[in-house]
Symmetry: C2
Subunit: 330 residues, 2 copies
Amino acid sequence: MTEPLSFDVVGIGNALVDVLTHQEEAFLVEHGMTKGSMTLIEPELAEQIYSAMGAGLEMSGGSAANTIAGVASFGGRAAYMGRVHDDTLGAVFAHDLQSIGVHFGSKARPDGPPTGRCMIVVTPDAERTMNTCLGSSAMFCPEDVDAALIRSAKVTYLEGYLFDRPESKDAYWTASEFASAAGNKVALTLSDLFCVERHRADWLELIHDRVDIIFANESEALALWGCDDIETAVERARSDVAIACITRGEKGSLVVNGDEVHEVPAHPVEHLVDTTGAGDLYAAGFLYGYTQDRSLPDCGRLGSVAAAAVLGHYGARPGLSLAQFVDLLD
Amino acid sequence: MTEPLSFDVVGIGNALVDVLTHQEEAFLVEHGMTKGSMTLIEPELAEQIYSAMGAGLEMSGGSAANTIAGVASFGGRAAYMGRVHDDTLGAVFAHDLQSIGVHFGSKARPDGPPTGRCMIVVTPDAERTMNTCLGSSAMFCPEDVDAALIRSAKVTYLEGYLFDRPESKDAYWTASEFASAAGNKVALTLSDLFCVERHRADWLELIHDRVDIIFANESEALALWGCDDIETAVERARSDVAIACITRGEKGSLVVNGDEVHEVPAHPVEHLVDTTGAGDLYAAGFLYGYTQDRSLPDCGRLGSVAAAAVLGHYGARPGLSLAQFVDLLD
């Protein structure tokens, strides 16, 4: 006799507050930024960039936290773990998750670095370039993993960005072992090309041993499996992981599950404003569908509509409830 | 031989960071809020409201600061004085003004209350209801007035909201005396009906002795001069102040200057999103025109277009440069 689980998805990642600003392309060149990338920066450089950039719009962010906010917006039961400091931005981060019904039990830390922030430069072509000062968020370690929460969620969703310090890698092993032992699923997003290049061997090990679902864009997938074409990546995905979702921008996504490969079209976006969070929301739609026992093509389609919902506005979280989008598929 | 002044407008007001949230009408009822009003609240109640409301979007605000940001956006030379605490929100406030070219010399305070914040509830009809926890901003006193800055600006712009504690009233007298003595102008916005009702006698005295330009909406003007109809208010304005701008929402505004009364139409707004900051931006457009020696009807029209520019988006500061709107009039 087993009780039904309390949560659909619990996410773990870097707890960050986003600072969005509109800048011309020249701003990227001036500060040596690579468009579309995410760069980790030290507090001194963060200060310099912040001084040089225009007025900002602050809102809670963090890749896995955006995904979890998306799951909650669909009506899913969602929870989050991540480190914030006991400061204004930490309080903003906690409030914004709790206010949309996400369970966030992590205690704000009274010591250590301040709450992390991510400066997102949006250029006129709607591309976003991120400079992240991780602060408190990167200090996540095995003691921060809430075993009971992991056991009570159908899926534990791990953000690639956080997989960096030895302590946070340990935390991911700890979390995924709790999930597997309880018979629950582990999902992982590769997050960024630099994450893949930096920790490829460690990741392949974690994926092989513990991960059930991975999310990657095309270049991340090619880098992970060290190949040049998508067909080979799909082949490797088949043998390494139960389900792989490979997102391809306007070309949609591929959902690979053993011998099945589902091609899912992108959902049309009328007016592209900002690409921030599109990948995060794809994962939200997919995982919401997955935890509601939808078919894999349906899960992919929910991913596409969720991504489209944030491509049309400024910021990485949906402005309106995503629950209405479910109707699009029914 | 006089040197040209360094600034067009210097503003003084409550330095606040806005926290915007979308809520249904029921939220206002539940928390006993009067739609469209601004209520001052204590930190405990602020905490309660913040916990109950949805995810927020943080951005720098403050009525006079919004006006000053608008003046800068038109290409005017603008400065601001106001009190912030040495905390994250204080740094955000200073950054956002400085990043758009506004001179902000006020030192962040290491002690006393935290930086003020204003929770703005936007209902589906685009009306905004504000709950403000003033914090550090309300502690503004005569020592915070930078005499050299006042002397170097064509217009000193005073926000009615700050005119509350005896020390801040003294600061307004101090500032307006510096301005008058230098042969510069003093402008005042009445801000809100409750400000007028609370300090009517003190305000009439300040206006009579020191103010050259006032900004008021219709109900504030009627309350100030204790009359029931706009014609009487216009009569009283003629005798009390050199220039009075009375804004009337969709009906536009009246610019009263001695025997002249200019009726200025509102600028059409295609898609009303949020009324936050419309009055602040009207003052920005008017003062920008005034300091460029435009005719009074032109100043009023610049006010109308600046107001329209923020009515169509979320937040109280213009998203794009207002300088382009000047072309509309030429």
